[in-house]
């Protein structure tokens, strides 16, 4: 039998609904003039085990009970029912800057924060150099943090938390902060923690990160456990459980449509093979982008295109329906047109993409030039070797290309090209 780090049985947490009601109403309720408040089970009969050394993901949409579960496990609040056995200290990676005091210096805040997380001065002393080096604020460590930039603040806060040594580390969406470079370092540090054999409980909306860091996971919905198991299966269940209309589609009201009488954009959607609009896709499957637009006045110079851009706006590629050879390109009609473009499997990298709509009269003017009308995320799962290394590939695309061994060029030619 493997040792468990956390073993929860029938864990439940009830909240009273309507906690924003005024103190007066609550007083009357206390006195008994009003009936009991309605309640809601934020966690309902949650049972799961996390093995020691596992990297365990808790996923689900907003309000599924993920944060409540973390709060109960880290003893911020008590459960209403059930129990959980926790082996060892649980350290929560604090929301950035929690417990930082603006008047205290970076150094003082490191110690304050660490003691909040249950570390002793002695433990911090041993790690202090590493913490400071990780954060990159060496020069300002004796400056009150109120003079810090928000980036420095975040980095220092994360550095403290990342160098904690609890047996179980709980992480809730912290990677959403900081610049890309720092996020990458955080991720690397997380992978390191996992490799060290520490138990990690990870809550995130970012399926790429979840997939990269975690081995097992649990899907929560409405406070209940939908499924537990290998992280890929859990993510799959999660993605297929997302209601199609939750995203992946944008429509414009008639008077707000980009364009004019030659092209007027009505709707754009990104869909999977089953024609369901989605916000998250696997890169091993094709992704379809569909534009619906009205044409009142047919203009042969009209070109309709999209750009696919990365999260930072860098354009990955531009594609238009006129790229198709003469004859097989879709034909523009008066009235409603719906053009679909397929982004082939195995092309995109993992990450967030934005779609820019570009419609124009060739050589005359742009008709619609709309940036980032729709976003979607991808989970890279094409290619066996591609995404197993842990680190993310650079670049907006990550095609698995052909590599072959060929005959080396004759020596004479090599010398020639070197000169």
């Amino acid at each position: 039998m493997t040792e468990f780090a956390i073993s929860a049985h029938g864990l439940g947490k009830r909240y009273r609904i309507g906690q924003v009601e005024s103190g007066f109403v609550r007083l009357r309720r206390r006195v008994g003039r009003l009936g009991p408040q309605e309640s809601l089970w934020a966690l309902d009969d949650v049972t799961f085990d996390v093995a020691e050394g596992d990297a365990f993901a808790v996923i689900g949409r907003n309000g599924a009970g993920k944060s409540t579960l973390l709060k109960v496990l880290s003893r911020i609040t008590e459960p209403t029912a059930g129990f959980a056995d926790v082996r060892g200290r649980i350290g929560a990676l604090l929301e950035v800057g929690t417990g930082f005091h603006p008047e205290l210096t970076g150094r003082e805040n490191v110690y304050l924060n660490a003691s909040l997380l249950g570390m002793t001065t002695h433990e911090v002393d041993r790690r202090f150099e590493r913490i400071v080096a990780f954060s990159g604020v060496e020069r300002h460590i004796n400056t009150p943090v109120k003079w810090y930039s928000s980036g420095m603040y975040i980095r220092l806060a994360f550095a403290v938390a990342a160098h904690l040594d609890p047996e179980i580390l709980v992480i809730d969406e912290v990677l959403a902060v900081g610049d890309l470079e720092f996020q990458k370092r955080c991720l690397d540090r997380m992978s390191e923690v996992v490799r060290e054999g520490r138990t990690v409980i990870f809550v995130s909306h970012n399926m790429n990160v979840v997939r990269r860091l975690c081995r097992n996971g649990m899907l929560l919905d409405g406070g209940r456990v939908l499924t537990t198991g290998a992280v890929n299966d859990v993510i799959g269940t999660y993605l297929s459980s997302i209601e199609p209309d939750e995203g992946g589609r944008r429509q414009w009201a008639p008077h707000e449509r980009p364009g004019d009488e030659t092209f007027s954009l009505a709707e754009i959607r990104v869909t999977d093979e089953d024609d369901e609009p989605r916000t998250t896709f696997f890169t091993s499957k094709p992704i379809y982008v569909t534009l619906e637009f009205d044409v009142e006045e047919l203009n042969p110079a009209l070109n309709v295109a999209i750009e696919l851009a990365g999260g930072d706006g860098t354009v990955g590629f531009f594609t238009s329906f006129r790229d198709m050879p003469e004859g097989s390109a879709p034909e523009l009609l008066r009235g409603r047109n719906a053009f679909r473009c397929q982004i082939p499997p195995g092309l995109l990298n993992a990450g967030r993409y934005a779609i820019n709509v570009r419609a124009g009269l060739h050589g005359v003017r742009w008709v619609a030039f709309e940036d980032a009308v729709l976003h979607f995320d991808t989970i890279a799962d094409h290619g066996e070797s591609l995404f197993l290394t842990g680190a993310m590939r650079p670049g907006l695309v990550a095609p698995a290309l052909q590599w072959h061994a060929v005959e080396p060029a004759p020596a004479g030619e090599r010398a020639l090209s070197a000169s």
Partner: protein
């Protein structure tokens, strides 16, 4: 052929904790408080440094406040209303000593009462022994008290009286003031989260309580039933004892002192149990 060996599993010192709804009376987890002891020190430092942030005169304010209010009060109550200390202690000195410890009590009490609210940002994000929030807020104003006490030496010179050996007992009564402030404060701390109105009531309550405590007048000046009843006020023992120790005021009535001190301790012990009950889920109401 494989050589099969058994690896002895060394029992690690990692302990298992069961997280579950708690029931019944809950004792204070002293072990845990000890484990987190450094947190108290860090929180104190945070409070103290935060208090004097970017003030030029910093500590001067702490000294000026009781001094100015003492002068005003002495003029109104001592001068106009003709209040006396009841002994040969000069009334302004009597008043100042009383206000010193009363000011400490009121910041300790106010701080402890608001400690959950003021630390709610932390409490909703991380677990730590909740008791340290009120404890830090009652300990940090001790610095103010110590600073303000320096001025009493000026007053001693002015009035030509000096403390005697009683002063070694001063810490006892300061501690008693802490007990009372913390005791009442933590009774209110939980309720204050749920009923914010209490926050508005507190300043008035403290003001009223001052008149119901022997700050402006000595117990000996009270008519008969009241001079006994005031023993139920835990601050009576604090004020009487503090004056006895600091300015060598005459010894208070031992019965009154004992009853009053006992009331203070009972309030604290009850408050601790109540706090334990409340702290378990208080963040749900923040």
């Amino acid at each position: 052929m494989a050589i099969v060996g058994t690896v002895e599993r060394v029992d690690s010192p990692i302990s298992t904790r069961r997280i579950q709804p708690s029931t019944g009376f809950l004792a204070i987890d002293l072990q845990e408080l000890w484990r987190y002891r450094e947190l108290l020190y860090r929180m104190l430092w945070r409070d103290i440094k935060g208090r004097y942030k970017q003030t030029f005169l910093g500590p001067i304010w702490v000294i000026l406040k009781p001094l100015v209010s003492m002068i005003l009060m002495a003029a109104v109550f001592g001068g106009l209303a003709g209040f006396k200390s009841g002994t040969n202690t000069p009334y302004p000195l009597f008043l100042f000593a009383g206000m010193l410890i009363w000011n400490y009590f009121s910041s300790a009490f106010g701080g402890a009462a608001g400690s959950i609210l003021s630390n709610s940002g932390l409490m909703t994000k991380v677990y730590f022994p909740r008791l340290y929030a009120p404890l830090a807020t009652v300990v940090s104003p001790l610095v103010d008290l110590a600073l303000a006490m320096t001025i009493t030496f000026g007053l001693f010179g002015w009035f030509g009286t000096w403390p005697n050996w009683h002063i070694v007992f001063l810490p006892v009564f300061v501690l008693l003031a802490l007990v009372v402030g913390m005791g009442i404060g933590i009774w209110i701390a939980g309720a204050m989260v749920r009923f914010r109105d209490i926050g508005f009531m507190l300043p008035y309550a403290i003001q009223l309580a001052m008149y119901a405590s022997p700050v402006l007048y000595p117990v000996s000046r009270l008519p008969k039933p009241y001079s006994d009843l005031i023993a139920l006020n835990p601050m009576t023992s604090v004020l009487d004892g503090f004056r006895w120790a600091l300015i060598a005021a005459p010894a208070p009535n031992v019965g009154v002192l004992a009853v009053s001190a006992a009331v203070g301790i009972v309030i604290l012990v009850g408050g601790l149990f109540n706090f334990r009950r409340v702290e378990r889920t208080i963040v749900d109401h923040v």
